[in-house]
Structures are given as C-alpha cells and as structure tokens.
C-alpha cells in the first residue's frame, strides 16, 4: 500500500505535496479577507443594480395618478398637450426625442466609424495626438456644447443651411421645407447632439477594433487582400458586436441628453414635420418644467410619466441591442 502514489515528475510531486500540506493549515487572516472581499464586491454590485429598479418603481408610483386616470394609448399617442385643461399627450415629445436622436446618429455613426477605423487601422503615429483629443471632447460639459450650438450651429442653420436647402429642395420635399426663421430646431439639435456623441462612439469603437487580434488581419493580408478589404471583411466583421455596443452607448447617451439639446432645439410643443421645425424632446420637457406650474393638477405625475417613458425607451433599446448582440456572438 505504500506504492499507491507514484509521482510522474518532480513538478507533479511538488504540486501534490503543496496541496495536502495547505489543507491541514487552519484558516488565516488572509483567507478571511478573501471571503470578505468576495461578499463585499457582490453586495456593492447588487446594491447599485437595485438602484435602477428603485428609480423605476419611484417614478411609477409618482406617475401613477396620471397612468391610472387616462388610457395609456391616449397618453402616449395623443398630440394634445394642454396641462391647464388636463390634456397630457406625450406624442410630440416622444417624436421629437426619436427624430433628434435619429438625426444625430445618422450624422455621427458614419463619421465616428470611419474615424475609429482610421485611428485603429490606418495611422499609428498620429494616434498619440488624436486619441487624447477625442477623449477630451468626450468629457467636455454638455452646456459648453449647448453654448457653442447657440453661437455657431443655430446661425449656420438659420442663415446658410436653412435658407439654401429650404429654398431649393424644400420646395419639393416637405420634410426639407423651412418655415422656421429662427434656426432653433431639429437640425440644430441633431448637429449638436451628433458632435457630442461622436467622440464617445469613436473612443469605444476604436478600442474594440484594436482588440481584434493582429493575426486575424495577417491571415487576410496573407491571402492577398488589400488593407481596406481586410478592414471591411475581417476586422469590422470580427468586431461587429463591439461596434454595435459602441453605437448603442452613443444612442442611449443621445436620447437622454438634456441641456445641450434644450438650448438649440426650439422647445415648441409640436410633432416636427420638417428638418427645420422646432422640436421638444422628453428630457427638455422635464428639465424646463419641473418645479414650475406644479399647482396644475396631474402636472407632476405627467412629468414623472415622461421620465418613465424616457427610461422605458432606453431600456427597450438596450435590451433589444443585447438580443442582437447575443445572436451575433452566438453565430460567430
């Protein structure tokens, strides 16, 4: 029975001896610390995650008076917003939010993707300059973007883009017609928002592209593919889930952005029908009105309902993106 265990190598016997001797030693302080760390990180993460739930429930409770007194369909899809008379239709705000965000993404996504490709795939020497600049852009306070929008984007839309497009294409295409002489509107909001989310999307996309193994690129190049073919068919394809995640992040950021948009978008309660019409996104509605006119019945509940809608849209969009992502990663 003495021959039951034969170490096959020096290393093997060392490992076994190490294990068995360790088992017999009583628990020490560092093991307690290990258990403590284990539980505390779990506790903190759980607590922070619960916060999302708590926020949702709190909004729901405060919005309940209006949710229970009016049909949901009317709240969401009615265009009549006359708080004094008791009409609360969120439709103009929902449409404004969606349109201004879509416009911003339409402008930002192509630019951001190509910039990220340039930084990650094409130029390694200027990256040391461009990357910090873009990261800095991402951290500029939104009020600065808003001010810049008022000073430059709004006049540009009013005097150049609006005039020119409104007079030429606007005569033919109704969504380009310009009967808003101020410059404050959907286009100005979209441009400011695009500029705001651009650095976020670039930054994340670039990191994602850089994480693609170099060997993957070489495999493609070694087959005689050009640099661009390799980027398009191999790098982007491999990084697609991450690129989508970067854009979802940009979308969520854009959809919830308040201050900068509020400063340039016009804030007129209407469903915008043209690129130059003024709009009134959900976050602007809440920020502009909360704390004022609170004596109007149901007004507080209506604003809470607007916040709930905002939360729900971002949540639905994120869940949807997660589903797409899991299908994509499952396929690869």
């Amino acid at each position: 029975m003495q021959e039951t265990y034969k170490p096959t190598s020096v290393l093997d016997s060392f490992v076994t001896v190490g294990r068995s001797s360790r088992r017999s030693v009583p628990w020490r302080w560092r093991q307690w610390k290990d258990v403590f760390a284990d539980h505390s990180v779990r506790l903190i993460t759980t607590a922070v995650s619960l916060l999302a739930l708590v926020m949702g429930i709190a909004l729901l409770i405060r919005a309940w008076p209006i949710l229970s007194s009016r049909p949901l369909g009317e709240l969401l899809f009615s265009s009549t917003w006359q708080p004094v008379k008791g009409y609360f239709g969120f439709w103009p705000f929902i449409m404004s939010s969606i349109l201004v965000t879509l416009l911003a993404m339409l402008l930002a996504v192509p630019c951001a993707t190509f910039s990220a490709i340039y930084l990650a795939e094409y130029n390694h020497s200027t990256r040391a300059f461009f990357k910090p600049v873009i990261d800095m852009l991402a951290s500029i306070p939104s009020v600065v973007y808003g001010l810049w929008g008022v000073l430059f984007v709004v006049p540009f839309v009013r005097d150049v883009a609006g005039k020119w497009i409104g007079e030429t294409l606007g005569a033919v295409l109704p969504f380009l017609a310009n009967d808003n002489p101020t410059g404050y509107g959907l286009l100005a909001g979209g441009i400011v928002l695009a500029i705001m989310v651009f650095p976020i999307i670039v930054s994340v996309t670039e990191e994602v592209l850089r994480s693609v193994p170099q060997n993957m690129r070489e495999a493609s190049l070694a087959l005689g593919a050009t640099h661009w073919e390799t980027t398009k068919f191999v790098v982007l394809r491999h990084a697609l889930p991450g690129v989508i995640a970067a854009n979802v992040l940009g979308f969520s950021r854009a959809f919830g952005e308040t201050l900068a948009v509020m400063m340039v978008v016009g804030n007129v309660v209407q469903v915008p029908h043209s690129l130059f019409d003024a709009a009134y996104p959900l976050p602007a509605l809440i920020a502009n009105n909360y704390g004022e006119m609170m004596s109007i019945p149901m007004y507080d509940a209506a604003l809470m309902g607007a916040a709930l809608v905002l939360l729900a849209v971002v949540l639905v969009f994120n869940v949807g993106a997660q589903l797409v992502l899991s299908r994509l990663t499952g396929r690869q």
Partner: protein, 253 residues
C-alpha cells in the same frame, strides 16, 4: 535538382525591428517545388525571414528593410510592386490557426472572392481545396457552420485550404504544426509532402526531427545570419561548418 533556377532568391536582405538588426545580409536560394526548411534556435530570426518573403514583416511598427527578394527574377520589394499581388502568389500558413470570422465555406471562398473569381466556379474551388487539405469529409455537411466550431487541427487544415484557394506559387509555413497535437501535426506534415509536387514550400521549424522528415533543402540560421545552407541530406549528414554540426548534435542552441 538544385541547379535549376531558384524560385526565390534572397539577396543581401537586412531587417531591423526597432533598433535591432534582426536579419544580417541574408543570401539564400529557395529551390522550386521542394520543401525548404529554415532551422535555428529561438530568436535567430527564422520567422522574420519567412515573413519578409511575402512582405508581412513590414506590418510591424518601426521596421526597416534593405536588400532584395527575387521572385522569378522580380524583386518583391521593388517600389512599384503590388503588395497584395505578392501575398497572393506567396501564401502563408501561420503558427496558430486563425479562422476568419465567417463560415467554413466563406473562409475558403474569401480569397477567390476578393480576387474576383466567378461565382459559378466557387463551389468547385472550395470543394477541391478542402479536399486537398483533407478536410472535406469532415465538414461536407456543415459548410455554413462558423469556422471557429472546428478543432484546432481542423482549423489549421482549413487555413491550408484557404491558402490553396488563391492558387499561390509558394507556401510559407511558420511552425505550422507547433500548436497542434501530434496526430494533427503529422497530418499536416503528410499534406505538405503531397503538396510539394505542385508548390514551393518554405517551412520554419525549431524541430530538427521535423526538418529531417520533410525538408529537401535546409537553411541554418544563427543570430540573424545564414551559417549554412544546402540539400537536406548533405547538411544533416555531413555539415560543412562545425557550428552546424554542434547545433545538429544539440550541443548549442
């Protein structure tokens, strides 16, 4: 056998990676339709030499290259040379298999597609290349499955099929069996032996036994310099340099 014109002639090739002089005045000939093994200890520049034969080496940062690599009397480093064309004619089988992020079929079809081969011939090309890589029987019923589902050995054969699909003249193999289990490795070796009737194969290996099994011609590299080169039988049985003999008998390296 080696008196005919070489397929690749390396002339005064110098490569610096950062400030390090990795390849020093390399002069060597790669004979046509043979397996040429580049042997030498780790860090002697074997892989750099191989990667400079289809200009993959220049992808790294701070690389400087001087000298010539003549491919059928054309310098692949000539400024007017189309790099993609060079890499199409001189393929590479990497150390580890890296399937492209697409299906098995699309991996093999990737090369022909970017080079504009007609859609009608594609199925036939994929079939024959997978067959040549002896993978067809294992994947015939799941060509649309992601290539990452294959085992490492199958992936390496897929990479071989993928390389063959662009119809290269020369195949470079960078320790292409070292990441595989012995059975898969032997499978790749057997494949290379059958392929040498149609392709010129250059093989980097640190495994002298593998070089003995496969090579017709051997280049022995030491600290970035060619110490000795010649037909495998001569070099292994009767090395001209004492240094080579010492390495072969594992006294150095």
């Amino acid at each position: 056998m080696h008196n005919i014109a070489p397929h690749l002639s390396i002339r005064n090739l110098n490569v610096w990676l950062d400030a390090q002089h990795v390849l020093k005045d390399i002069a060597a000939d790669i004979p046509r339709r043979c397996i040429t093994a580049i042997v030498g200890p780790s860090g002697c520049g074997k892989t750099t030499l191989l990667r400079s034969l289809n200009r993959l080496v220049e992808l790294g940062p701070n690389v400087r290259i001087t000298g010539k690599v003549l491919f059928d009397d054309t310098d692949i480093y000539h400024p007017g040379m189309d790099v993609a064309e060079v890499r199409t004619r001189i393929g590479l089988l990497a150390q580890k298999p890296f399937p492209l992020p697409m299906s098995i079929y699309d991996n093999v079809a990737y090369g022909p597609r970017i080079h504009g081969t007609a859609r009608t011939g594609l199925d036939q090309t994929v079939h024959s290349c997978l067959q040549a890589a002896q993978l067809w029987d294992e994947v015939a019923d799941r060509l649309k499955a992601p290539a990452t589902e294959l085992s490492a050995g199958q992936q390496q054969r897929l990479c071989l099929a993928r390389a063959l699909a662009v119809k290269p003249d020369i195949l470079l193999c960078d320790e292409s069996t070292s990441a595989l289990d012995p059975i898969s490795a032997r499978g790749i070796e057997d494949l290379l032996l059958t392929l040498k009737t149609d392709y010129t194969i250059v093989l980097v290996t640190h495994d002298l036994d593998q070089a003995r099994r496969l090579a017709d011609y051997v280049i022995f590299l030491w600290l970035g310099e060619v110490i000795e080169q010649g037909p495998a039988a001569d070099l292994f049985e009767n090395p001209a340099q004492d240094f080579t003999r010492a390495y072969l008998e594992r006294e150095i390296g």
